[in-house]
Symmetry: C2
DNA sequence: ACCTAAATGGGGTGGCACCCCGTTTCCGTC
DNA sequence: GACGGAAACGGGGTGCCACCCCATTTAGGT
């Protein structure tokens, strides 16, 4: 990350200060943290913050980029799991739990999904769709996940759960519920836990 | 509604003006509508609005009370449905779709769930838990819904979906996915629709 | 008609996002 | 090492907001 694009050294320094301050402040106050305060903490004028990050969304994306990368890496690890359907469910749970714990992440991803202003949507969203799509395809090819399930719906669901709670336990429970469904089947509950 | 508690006639008039203005404004701008503008549209000072509704949450609850009542009534109608599990799923879909369409409703219900400040939580939430709980119990007694499923989780899920999208189609699809689960079962997809 | 408690709202305070534009800083060139 | 222009900066302005204070008005019982 950190955009190696031609940039003056002082500009690069400020960029990094802002992201660092934003990380701290967003962790404390969530996605609607005060941009003024972030600029103050970073030791730059508010205009500088707005120049580097034209929208709140742009700043949040810089803040969360690393964490999203971590989630994607986790998807690749889980892909080696014996049961692809379990791997998919586990990964969705990880995404939802991470989003629930990390104040602002869910709101940040949501915002990108809502406004179709940016042509190529948020890079974070694309990363998650790619990583999750691979997991989903494995499970569908194995015949254990219904073919009409779409990765974007699963991710939206995980994100929705993150948005609705900040409790990791609740988030995990809701994802388990959503992946298993509500029905009691003749042959018992499939993979109850 | 409208709190028949002893109140001077002018106060009652203002209370109603404010709720009416809030309905219009929240429909246009969502749950974070400007309280100042609502007061201006209602023809009262901002202090009057804050006196009647100490928190934004209190105002939103007054605005959405009727709609939540409608959803609860719908639950009672569906309770007569032949298949209780279908009734439950249909109602959850209705809740999620309604929340997705009605700007601010989901955020309003969420806020009540987040802050355990109010001892008896939001009245809207209690109403939904009661109405949905009855439906869930019917389905569990009929043996078609797993006994460990909790109504609060289902409602949180429906609310989460509302929060994550404002598109009725997407909301309905996500609820269908969550109630059916992701798995492909030997005997085919249960209630695919 | 009067009187008191209830209710009101103009205006103050502090905070915010976002932008303008005069000033400072960097860095390639000589 | 000095210089000059482009790049970057940031103080301060604007307009909006939530929330509160308190002097004034008003309802409605007697």
């Amino acid at each position: 990350m950190a955009d190696t694009r031609s940039r003056r050294a002082d500009a690069q320094r400020n960029y990094e200060s802002i992201v660092a301050a934003a990380e701290a402040e967003v962790a404390r106050s969530g996605a609607d943290a005060s941009l003024e305060k972030i600029a103050r903490d970073a030791g730059v004028g508010s205009a500088t913050l707005h120049r580097h990050f034209p929208t709140r969304q742009a700043l949040l994306e810089a803040v969360f980029h690393d964490q999203v990368e971590g989630l994607c890496a986790q998807a690749h690890e889980l892909a080696g799991n014996a049961d692809p359907a379990t791997a998919l469910a586990d990964w969705l749970r990880a995404v939802a739990v991470h989003g629930a714990i990390t104040r602002g992440l869910a709101a940040s991803l949501l915002a990108s999904g809502r406004a179709p202003t940016t042509p190529a949507t948020s890079s974070c969203e694309v990363m998650l769709v790619d990583a999750g799509g691979a997991l989903l395809r494995l499970a569908q090819d194995a015949g254990t996940v219904r073919p009409e399930v779409a990765i974007i719906d699963l991710l939206t669901l995980a994100n929705a759960v993150s948005l609705a709670t900040e409790d990791a336990g609740v988030a995990a429970r809701l994802i388990a519920l959503a992946t298993e469904g509500i029905h009691l089947h003749a042959n018992g509950v499939p993979a109850a836990r």
